[in-house]
Symmetry: C2
Subunit: 388 residues, 2 copies
């Protein structure tokens, strides 16, 4: 396995992007990433494209990879679409990493793209529910807000986590998102607004939930040999780990076992510990999820995620800023693009190009993304550690 660098990144704005299609979003992000890398289109040797919901939301069930790269005329090379629900873009990044690390290719493009906001909302919900088992589970009424509401109740019961601590995740991520010109929501909210927003699934309210967004993000991955010849400073992929699983019958619902296992594997691969991580982007599909991830990633002990948020440590300016992009909560969650949106943020931060939301000491960044939720069999958790 060879060392692999991220040579360039690109992203569209995330949000309700009226009139923008898979083709236009995907091509914009890919083009920006190539430009950022100083790589010509014809130098790209392989592409992996993450997209989760294109079939049900746009009718483009097949060839989503080719479609998303069509407008910039990227063809000829192997183009493969990968899907793992909300982890689809992380999957694209990981497969691109394997392809370059293997020695087979020198330059790989990873793209994630999703077009969600112009589908009927009942169709969007149906499509999102297919991240569970459609035949056995999706019609049982336990939607994702319901799942995370149960987790929140249990976390509050077991560890004394307060409703305010959960709400503070939204407040913090909106404060970060207000500094990000690519974010879906670029305005701050107060704790009172967060707690007083309309109920979704008790105890979660509207501001505990990430939005439905359109968007695309991309990264160009290159071999070490090539990285030396490119204009911009490379950011290195120090680790890539993916684990799937499970709420085992004996496992508490306040831990995502795949995240714990993938994090363990990633820290080992990178030769780093959780204490070495300067900033992280984590999968805050719901506010309570961020609290779980802080614990599962080893940023604090199990049960102490709430107090950690309250302490300000994970806020911009704190010792270990989390979701300074705004996270899924404020930056938005175009499902198949999210994992590469995280990579975009980390690369900009590690290069010192994050403007108003720059983390001063950013040398090691961690991206955590999840995808899928088959009850009892879970989905995938992805951890990528990037270093400069």
């Amino acid at each position: 396995m060879r060392r692999v660098a991220v040579a360039g990144v690109g992203t569209t704005r995330f949000g309700k992007l009226v009139g923008r299609s898979l083709r236009s979003l995907g091509s914009e992000a890919a083009w920006l990433a190539l430009e950022d890398a100083g790589i010509e289109r014809k130098q790209v040797q392989v592409a992996y494209v993450g997209s989760a919901l294109a079939g049900l939301l746009t009718g483009q069930e097949c060839c989503v990879g080719h479609l998303a790269l069509r407008e910039i005329g990227l063809t000829g090379i192997p183009i493969t679409r990968v899907e793992n629900a909300c982890g689809s873009a992380s999957s694209a990044f990981r497969e691109a990493w394997i392809a370059v690390a293997s020695g087979l290719y020198e330059v790989a493009l990873a793209l994630g793209v999703e077009k969600m906001t112009e589908a009927d909302s009942s169709v969007a919900i149906q499509a999102l529910m297919s991240a569970s088992d459609v035949e056995l589970e999706a019609d049982q009424g336990l939607t994702f807000p319901g799942v995370f509401a149960m987790i929140a109740m249990r976390h509050m019961y077991e560890f004394g986590t307060t409703r305010e601590q959960i709400g503070l995740v939204a407040v913090q991520n909106h404060r970060h998102g207000a500094l990000n010109p690519h974010a879906h929501f670029q305005q701050e909210i107060t704790l009172e607004q967060a707690l007083g927003s309309r109920p979704v699934a008790y105890p979660l309210t509207l501001f505990d939930c990430c939005p439905i967004s359109d968007g695309a993000s991309a990264a160009v991955l290159v071999s070490e040999a090539l990285a030396a010849h490119l204009p911009s400073d490379p950011v290195w992929i120090a680790a890539s780990a993916q684990a799937s699983g499970t709420y085992e019958p004996s496992s508490p619902i306040t831990t995502f076992q795949p995240t714990v296992r993938a994090a363990h594997e990633a820290y080992e691969m990178a030769g780093l510990g959780s204490e070495d991580v300067d900033l992280a982007e984590v999968h805050d599909c719901f506010t309570i999820a961020e609290i779980l991830h802080l614990e599962d990633l080893g940023f604090c002990a199990k049960g102490e995620g709430g107090p950690l948020v309250e302490s300000g440590v994970t806020s911009l300016g704190g010792k270990k800023p989390v979701n300074v992009s705004g996270g899924l909560k404020a930056k938005g969650h175009p499902v198949g693009a999210t994992g590469l949106g995280q990579v975009y943020e980390l690369v900009r931060q590690l290069r010192g190009q994050a403007d108003q939301r720059q983390v001063a000491t950013a040398r090691v960044g961690l991206a955590h993304c999840m995808g899928g939720f088959l009850h009892g069999d879970g989905g995938n958790s992805y951890i990528h550690i990037l270093t400069r």
Copy 2:
């Protein structure tokens, strides 16, 4: 890149499998492949699952990989679904190959699965049309039978290919399928039946078209080091190539450029030429397609595919048997499973386990699969060369 072996293969029957779901089909094929390899479920380190149409045909838009392996309880490991229209299973096989060849994993499972026959036929057609560009092309009326009918007309005009030669592909593949207990159609047809069947798109008739099928196929890929310790003789992956493209404006529609390029790359990687191939499985979605592939793979000169079929060279008992499984035409075409169905056939042949349809001198087998058809930008062609 390390040498990689296919240690085991498994397949369901292909056909109209009433009451069988993605979960049951996928798990059956995966289980059979593990059993064939002498590999325990817990030894599998990574899985790639090809599926093209699950969203529109079954509602399972996301997590198709996990779903398909759920019944055999395969979880914990990275499970990634890949999609490239009709090439999805070839993609799964290729990504599994890269994952083991890279040194990252010792054991990878590749699975392809599709459930098509219980969807409404108008939905199935809509889903299949999404292998073209839904926004720009799918509603223009040029369906895939139409595309291949145009190709047939041009091939007949340009090279003097006869209607009978095209029909003979169906006759031959049905003769092969009649010997395959996993085939969708297991009966022979006469040339008169083929030519006299009802028109679909002139000059193609019903028997020129592959059926819509359910099915799943799987392969277990292992490192060379591990292969030495397994009970069955390994079959080696001598080459894996994937190219995308295009009908360039200047390119004749009687050649698939991605096939030509992928074949060139694969022969070079394997250190073999087209003359070394003992048997091939090719993507005969329509009879005329097989004739094109014979030419594009270098089995004969461009334009001579019709006479080659007529000569009997590509028939079981001939010098270079093609689609002895029955091909897509008779074995069936469960879209996301097809590429691994080809691998299943080649591995059984190379091991001398193909019973009535055994090719006597099978030492080098070639699998050719295509996926997607964006007009002007094409889709992907995959070539895998397996050797014993």
